[in-house]
Symmetry: C2
Subunit: 166 residues, 2 copies
């Protein structure tokens, strides 16, 4: 199981912003990301869940803290144009990621990562995963502790020592 995992990364300087209840129709996601791209705003995570029974949806982004004000400006403009309900912000964010390969093939990998944080009272604000990276957003105060706990939970120090010795 641990072969699949190579490291833990943290980015302590993030903010999360979401535009809530935009029309769930073709073209909306493009419009929103174009507006951010036009202002050269660097987006890190983009997260959108699904809502089959209703006709609106919400799109969340993480950006670096210094891009927050401008991002909010852009999304507020879009909110007016698109008739969205609101723009919400969480300025206290850090991204903690487990990096490796084939991470999705073993369901106990995300389970172990999330359980580790939960058992240590660290709340997970956002989640975005792919086979090479499992990312959680937590509060900035919890970031280093989260990274250390995950590192220990997956015994990454043993892997590092092993490869150092060979």
């Amino acid at each position: 199981i641990f072969r699949a995992i190579s490291s833990v990364a943290i980015d302590k300087d993030q903010a999360a912003v979401a535009i809530m209840d935009v029309p769930d129709q073709p073209g909306i996601a493009g419009k929103i990301t174009q507006a951010l791209a036009k202002r050269n705003i660097g987006i890190d995570m983009i997260v959108q869940s699904f809502h089959p029974s209703i006709d609106h949806n919400s799109i969340a982004f993480t950006v670096s803290s210094d891009a927050l004000d401008e991002t909010v400006l852009v999304l507020e403009e879009l909110k007016a144009q698109l008739g969205a309900r609101s723009v919400q912000v969480d300025a206290d964010c850090a991204k903690v990621s487990l990096i490796g390969a084939g991470l999705v093939e073993q369901p106990d990998i995300p389970a172990r990562m999330f359980t580790t944080l939960g058992e240590n009272s660290i709340n997970i604000k956002m989640i975005s995963t792919s086979e090479m990276k499992l990312s959680c957003v937590v509060s900035r105060d919890n970031a280093e502790k989260a990274a250390r706990l995950i590192h220990e939970a997956f015994e990454l120090h043993l892997l590092e020592n092993k490869s150092a010795a060979t």
Copy 2:
């Protein structure tokens, strides 16, 4: 810009399931993923947006179509245990992914991908991104068309011919 991108992948055999309005407290994500891992259910994408002003949140997963029924069973059990509002399902899903490197450093990459789909009336049901992979969930009927359009929008055929010629 196109250097960053290497290919487009599709997985036409997915279903999306989400457990709605679980308590937004430490331990919940772990509990949910543990329950799925225990039944050896292979999870592909895990997506959770953020809701700073309320005390509940929702977690969405994509699984292969043949795992849908069991996934719903597990989540329905959890819904009862956790006091969640509902379990929602969209059985008509396919994942279309743009694969490369440094994808998040250029905000016009996701913008181009989403705009391409939008201009062709393809609705984006879910989004999950990382620097190596931008994934969208669309309907199964739209999957191959979406992949082809993205391939063209990023002129990937030119890259392929170029590397074939060298």
